[in-house]
Amino acid sequence: MALMGGNGVTRKAAKGQHLAGVSVLGIDDPWIWGVYLLCIFSALLCIIYGALNWNRGGEQEAAETKEEAAWEAKEEEMQEKELGL
């Protein structure tokens, strides 16, 4: 592969994008610094959602656990019958 190339067209394209906005954190292309910040914001969104709902959603737990214990007993019974364990 060619070493340090450099290409007129490329530089022009890059320059075109650079004109689109200001440089943020040393990055000129808004598509890149934008996504850099968006990544942090989306992680923050996850943190806020998780914190706000930290204790929600456990309402059906007891009933479901009971139901599953019954299934398990049934399955064990079936196994005993089928495999003679």
């Binding site: 592969m1 994008q17 598509w31 998780g50 737990e61």
Partner: protein, 528 residues
């Protein structure tokens, strides 16, 4: 190389892994415990396990190296990883998957789909797609770990691959999912610490955040001419819109992997392991931070490796790695960080690879044992666990064999292929299964078959990166690809197969017999 330090670190790690695997094995008594960890898992364990499974050496070494090549545009994938892979996956998909999985008493992803649509065909066809598609992904994860060992320890790649696979096979076969999830959570914690150190070290070494980014921005003129001609404009800017480079970045790397995660069997099964939505809500918080620290750090560091190598060796990363992007991260870590960190990072990678590999093998084994064997023989319990264990061993052998055969620069591509296949085959059916009562058995089958076949066809006949090396199009039709006009040879199969599969699922569902009311009632019990 400080052999004593290295051996102590590895020994402690392996002992801890074996201990956790043993604990899992002790508490795994029945089929349900083996397959979905008895559905009672702590949110920290669940979220870290999900995260550690999601993020592998493939993400850190493979895609980190890809960021060394493509630049920070890969951060779009991080955004999707967090927003789609965590936020949407847990809230929109996870909660319903958990509830419907519970209502149907489903143990695997194919079983969930099969029971929801009351179709054995869906269960075993999905099981087959997983069993035959996943080895490629499993294999590139092994390659990622072995490449790092090769560079760090200067040992033979083939030997590293073999030893490593034997350890993983042993603890997945005996531990079941509970063992896998305990060790995953420990591995996730190690990964988090390792990546945090890596980020701080890289930015500190290069003079701070803005200075480091600015230096990378100023290197745009160093892009090799060959890459620039394909649309590469620098490491802190997007490729030229519509160019080969742009299509590969956007359609294969970002969309393929970013969306595919929603329908990954080894991740979906984790939603079925928690007892309530509370764990999923908490998991969103832990998962969001974790993924940012994993892929966010890997991609930023991968891109910045160019600055480091340019300042110290006067060359860009790709040239330092002799054209193999898979080697960029291993070489960078070895060159830029102190020895103790290299060992810690190797452990991080070992952890990342082990957590993902073990879940992959577990998913493949259960595809054979539960989804294919049980579907055909109607035998349950002890026998299917035995078949699952044999299936895992077969999966390991296939993955290792592929590891020896696959070429360089394969990690990111291999991952993208499997993610894309899962998205096209499963996502439409899975989404409809959770949210649309009008979806019918025939609609789901039509979508599943369409997604699978279109993806395979596109790889064999249209997408240049795979069609040319595979050579099937050339053999049958005498030319490299079926359509040469841009942008088709560089458009990822998922971009075509996924919408088409969605469309077919919906249209066929509207035209065919509705699902039995009783089945629907049972599925959606307790869902408002």
């Amino acid at each position: 190389m400080n052999l004593l330090l290295l051996n102590v670190i590895i020994l402690v790690y392996l002992l801890a892994t074996l201990y956790l695997g043993y604990r899992g094995w002790k508490s795994t008594k029945d089929s349900e415990g083996y397959l979905v960890a008895g559905r009672e898992t702590h949110p920290y364990i669940m979220a870290m396990s999900y995260g550690a499974t999601f993020i592998s050496t493939s993400a850190i070494v493979g895609f980190g190296g890809t960021a060394g090549l493509f630049g920070m545009g890969l951060l779009w994938l991080t955004l999707l990883n967090i927003f789609v892979g965590i936020f949407l996956a847990f809230i929109v998909y996870g909660k319903r998957t958990r509830k419907i999985g519970h209502n149907l008493n489903a143990m695997t992803f194919p079983e969930l789909l099969g029971k929801r649509f009351d179709s054995k065909f869906i269960q075993y066809f999905s099981g087959l797609v997983i069993f035959f598609g996943m080895p490629l992904y499993a294999s590139v994860v092994l390659i990622g770990a072995a490449r790092f060992m090769e560079t760090t320890l200067a040992i033979d790649f083939d030997v590293a691959l073999l030893i490593y696979s034997v350890i993983i096979a042993a603890y997945v076969v005996w531990g079941g999912l509970r063992g896998v999830m305990y060790t995953d959570a420990m591995q996730g914690t190690i990964m988090f610490v390792g990546m945090a150190f890596l980020l701080i070290m890289t930015y500190t070494h290069l003079g701070g955040i803005t200075v480091a980014h600015q230096a990378l921005t100023d290197m745009a003129h160093l892009v090799p001419a060959k890459l620039a001609a394909q649309g590469h404009t620098g490491w802190t800017s997007m490729p030229t819109f519509g160019s080969t480079w742009w299509w590969t970045l956007v359609s294969t790397v970002v969309m393929g992997v970013g969306i595919g995660v929603l329908a990954m069997p080894q991740l979906v099964v984790r939603f079925m392991t928690v007892k309530s939505n509370k764990e999923l809500n908490r998991g969103v918080l832990i998962g969001g931070i974790f993924i940012l620290m994993m892929t966010g750090v890997a991609f930023v560091v991968g891109a910045l490796s160019n600055v480091f190598f340019y300042q110290t060796q006067g060359n860009i990363s790709l040239n330092i790695a002799k054209g193999n992007a898979d080697s960029i991260i291993p070489i960078f870590i070895n060159a830029a960080t102190p020895e103790w960190f290299v060992y810690l990072f190797m452990l991080t990678l070992l952890a990342a690879a082990m957590s993902t590999s073990s879940s992959q093998f577990h998913a493949q084994g259960s595809a054979i044992g539960r989804d294919i064997y049980e579907s055909f023989t109607k035998r349950k319990g002890g026998e299917s666990i035995l078949v699952t264990r044999i299936g895992i061993l077969v999966a390991v052998v296939i993955a290792v064999a592929l590891g020896y055969m696959l070429p360089e620069n394969i990690i990111a591509r291999g991952t993208a292929i499997f993610f894309g296949l899962c998205a096209a085959a499963f996502l439409p059916m899975y989404t409809c299964a959770l949210y649309w009562k009008g979806a019918t058995r025939n609609g789901a089958i039509a979508g599943l078959v369409t997604g699978t076949l279109v993806t395979v066809f596109w790889y064999l006949f249209i997408h240049k990166a795979e069609a040319v090396p595979l050579g099937i199009c050339k053999m049958l039709l005498g030319r490299d690809v079926l359509i040469t006009q841009m942008p088709w040879p560089v458009v990822d199969p998922m971009m075509i197969a996924l919408p088409l599969s969605f469309l077919i699922t919906i249209v066929v569902s509207m035209m065919t017999k509705k699902m039995n009311e009783k089945t629907l009632e049972e599925c959606f019990k307790g869902i408002k």
